[in-house]
Symmetry: C2
Subunit: 332 residues, 2 copies
């Protein structure tokens, strides 16, 4: 039996293009004892995958050329020779972009849709929610009454961070790229203020106006000029969570910008790179807290769902065009 | 009676010039009850004073135009109407650049030259030593076997940081601006390696070669391109102490450079602005430790001493030309 697989054909130069990906038919081996056969149900596409497409040392190894790309997925067990799984079980884990595949069941977590939809496990209860919660609390160390700025605020992580900011008593301003997103930040996610960076001429001034008491915490998903503008508005002991730099992921030369060092010195400020995998010891506690907020109705999550295995690359490319509000997921 | 005073005549544009300073004669008031009359013995000139010459909010208020500049000094009591001080006492504290002056004695510390020369109180046992010790231990959190890079390594703070690095079991590489300084780093201060950034074409490569296991801690006194080159060599969980950015202090436009954010994200690395005044609660403990290292002969300190009250501005300007090795002090 054959299955469709998406491999990395070329390492993208600048923005990823369709031709960087290739669909191939791969033979599916016979199921051996201890294995299960899985069918993908949902695939998560995330900005950080762009980093793994580069051939350079980072916090995760780069994808290999001519080999499948992998990300977090939800999959259904359709055949099993493993006593831990029965047919119809639904699992989540990091798996390759193969429509059907064989697994030994390791590093997979069984989930169900009793309390939340399955896609929540790729979002608010998955790495997205954990990233938002642990980055914000562990590096941001929010205190009541402080001011939080979130960039990429309408994205999967950003929209959760802003809500956590409100839950913890912060004044919250979000930066996003369309008026509709900015409107949603306020009406749906409860942000106090929003800035459309695409239509704002003077970001530095706009941030000053929405953050009258200066910026104490900056949860940065985008990097680049937007983040440079934040620097001019920071308070003493300000903390930046450097979670992502999507604004510069597709640059082909080394990105440059305002030198942050004089700002850090003047304000005894901190910047720290955040990778959720460093905080595995706190996942359970964080998931519990996120689940509690979700049940209490304090946390709204939003998804942009594209359909079809063949549209995974397109959904991924859409991340860099701002096509998503909240978590981008592909339904297979 | 009149006394010579140095006032800030113009806020420097770019590098400070002689004409930014003015010597004036000021009338010395009569000594009132509770006051002491002081004569300057030594004046500390430091890169951070350049920051206070700008008219902008920072961790210390800016100097006012047409008012005296102030820095850490050593002074002798030459007359007293304050029971806490007797004639001949020697004190240290933050005082204006006035050859003789009246003080109420507040915020002054009595010192003597029994164990160390008086100038040590402006250097290794003063803010310089405290900056090196507290920046390195509180933000750097050194572990045995780690690699430390110090920029401005032959300077007052840098030369102490490197020695502390060796005391704490690190591999230490220093960056300085002349071959003589680089030689001294190794022969006098015990650094493992030194790089002359003025004669090195590829700093990124030179750092890689002197730090085979990558960089775990970067004590940064200079900022600018040198610090950008360090970024390419950092390890996971690397810490930067942003203590100074002398390379960019004289720039008239906002300094730009390589964007640090992608490097921080990839390496879960930290950058933090360091100002010694935030750590006052730890001064006593730090001074005790520095005094102990000094007595044990583990800490060598070096001074560049210029002579004459009239040469204070010149000594200050010399900091930006790399004229000092170790602490720059003016003997009055």
């Amino acid at each position: 039996m054959k299955t469709k697989t998406i491999i990395l054909k070329h390492r993208p130069e600048g923005k990823p293009k369709s031709s960087d990906f290739e669909f191939i038919d791969e033979e599916l081996a016979d199921l051996k004892s201890g294995e299960i056969q899985l069918k993908l149900k949902y695939v998560s596409v995330d900005p950080y995958l762009r980093g793994r497409m580069r051939d350079e040392k980072s916090y995760m190894p780069p994808f290999e050329l001519d080999a499948p790309i992998a990300s977090m997925v939800v999959a259904e067990v359709i055949e099993t020779k493993n006593d831990d799984f029965k047919k119809g079980d639904v699992v989540t884990g990091m798996l390759p972009w193969k429509k059907e595949q064989i697994s030994d069941g390791k590093n997979l977590t069984k989930i169900d849709d009793k309390n939340v939809p399955l896609t929540a496990y790729l979002g608010v209860l998955g790495l997205t929610g954990l990233t938002a919660y642990l980055g914000f609390t562990e590096i941001g160390k929010p205190k009541k009454g402080e001011t939080l700025v979130v960039s990429g605020a309408a994205g999967a992580v950003g929209s959760i961070v802003g809500q956590l900011g409100k839950i913890m008593g912060c004044h919250v301003a979000g930066i996003a790229g369309t008026d509709a997103k900015v409107e949603k930040l306020k009406s749906k996610f409860g942000f106090d203020a929003g800035i459309n960076y695409k239509t704002t001429e003077n970001m530095r001034k706009a941030i000053a106006e929405t953050c009258k008491d200066g910026v104490d915490i900056y949860f940065d998903n985008v990097g680049g000029e937007i983040s440079d503008a934040v620097l001019y508005n920071i308070n003493k002991f300000m903390r930046t969570i450097n979670c992502g730099a999507i604004a510069t992921y597709n640059e082909t030369s080394v990105p440059r910008g305002v030198s942050v060092r004089p700002f850090l010195i003047k304000n005894s400020a901190l910047m720290q790179g955040f990778i959720v995998s460093n905080y595995e010891a706190k996942f359970d506690e964080a998931r519990k807290q996120l689940g509690k907020y979700l049940k209490e109705g304090k946390l709204t999550h939003e998804e942009t769902i594209k359909e079809g295995f063949e549209n995974i690359p397109e959904a991924f490319m859409g991340l860099f065009e701002g096509e998503n509000t909240g978590k981008m997921v592909v339904k297979i």
